[in-house]
Symmetry: C2
Subunit: 226 residues, 2 copies
């Protein structure tokens, strides 16, 4: 698969089949992930691949509690706005996302693979783990495997999750999130995004970028200079 | 370019030519970057592309001070160890990295493009910006453009850098790092990494992964099951 197709079409996939992911596919995904950069190449990362159904059920209970908490706190305003005007496009998109989140919650025990990622606490440790996790998602995409990152386990239940996975916290490891993976039931496509010239500037904040991109540049399209 | 070639060969490139990066290449890089995921797709990100030589000189002074500080603090132990045994392989690799860091410091004003990235403070904001930055580096790789992320500006000089780039900090933006980009003077290749089965486990920390990967799986190689 061409790299730009992977970058454009690796959208969050939360509806997945229970089919197992073969070991050689898992190996290619993980081996690609560890090629990612880390601060001064320290590679102070560890990964736990979870495929045990009992563990997935236990983690799924925490994910459900976490998503419930997100809905009541982080998302409370958007949930309320969407209830008032469910057909407004931004609200409709939010409700579709929420519905897919809850589909995943309800089917968490059947998710075939979870990749939990850990990084040693330190300067720039965040920049030393998310590229590897995103590489895992891109490499999975190239294998036809869908994925989505979830943060509810580490944000709301960090120590409980680490206890379940037997993480030696005394060695200063921190869980950075988890990527769930499986063969998607839906189709791949380019997810909608705000356009580049609305979120990027040239030299100083607010100054024109120098080009505009009206439509996604993959597949090939012309760039308008501005 | 095939996605796995990009994932395996996008290594840190710190020696780059001063040649400008054409606007259409910049557009493709940035348009690919904003396809990355962010927490519940909020896209609370902004990017500033810096190509003004005066600004690059000003930022370069801060980068120099930051790298000096890193050398005296973060890296002090490794610098001391490398001075005692410079030929020991890990030390030699560290010294090569340090040498390329200082090459970049000395040539910072001639770097053709810097991509500064910002994210709104919030839950999981780290996971909402580093995938986009890494996508920019992967998309740049596909265009033959080398890159490396630097954190010294935001780690040591966050507010000063934001003042230079006129970032409205009162809106709760935080700089997450900067990617410098340019056509590399050196060659692309697969960077050495610890092997997957040394940094990954199955189901619980420390348990065997289920496969071993002796050599990078790109180009194609066989996976040994264990």
């Amino acid at each position: 698969m061409e790299v730009r197709e992977a970058l454009y079409t690796t959208r969050a996939m939360r509806r997945m089949k229970p089919d197992r992911i073969p070991m050689d596919v898992q190996a290619r995904v993980l081996d690609a992930a560890i090629r990612a950069p880390s601060a001064s190449n320290t590679q102070d990362w560890r990964f736990v691949l979870v495929d045990d159904p009992d563990l997935m059920r236990t983690l799924g209970d925490l994910v459900r509690q976490g998503e419930q908490r997100s809905k009541e706190t982080l998302y409370a305003e958007r949930v309320a706005a969407a209830a008032l005007a469910p057909d407004e496009p931004a609200n409709a998109a939010f409700l579709r996302m929420l519905s897919s989140v809850w589909y995943l919650v309800d089917h968490f025990a059947e998710v075939p693979l979870l990749l939990a990622a850990f990084v040693r606490e330190g300067v720039a440790s965040d920049a030393s783990i998310y590229p590897a996790m995103w590489s895992a998602q891109l490499a999975a995409r190239a294998e036809g495997v869908g994925s989505v990152m979830t943060r509810v386990l580490d944000v709301y239940f960090h120590d409980a999750t680490c206890e379940i996975l037997v993480v030696p916290l005394e060695e200063h490891w921190r869980m950075s999130g988890a990527v769930v993976m499986g063969y998607p039931t839906g189709r791949w496509g380019v997810a909608p995004r705000r356009r580049v010239h609305e979120v990027a500037f040239r030299n100083t904040w607010g100054a024109p970028l120098g080009f505009e991109v009206a439509e996604p540049l993959w597949p090939e399209r012309r760039v308008e200079s501005s």
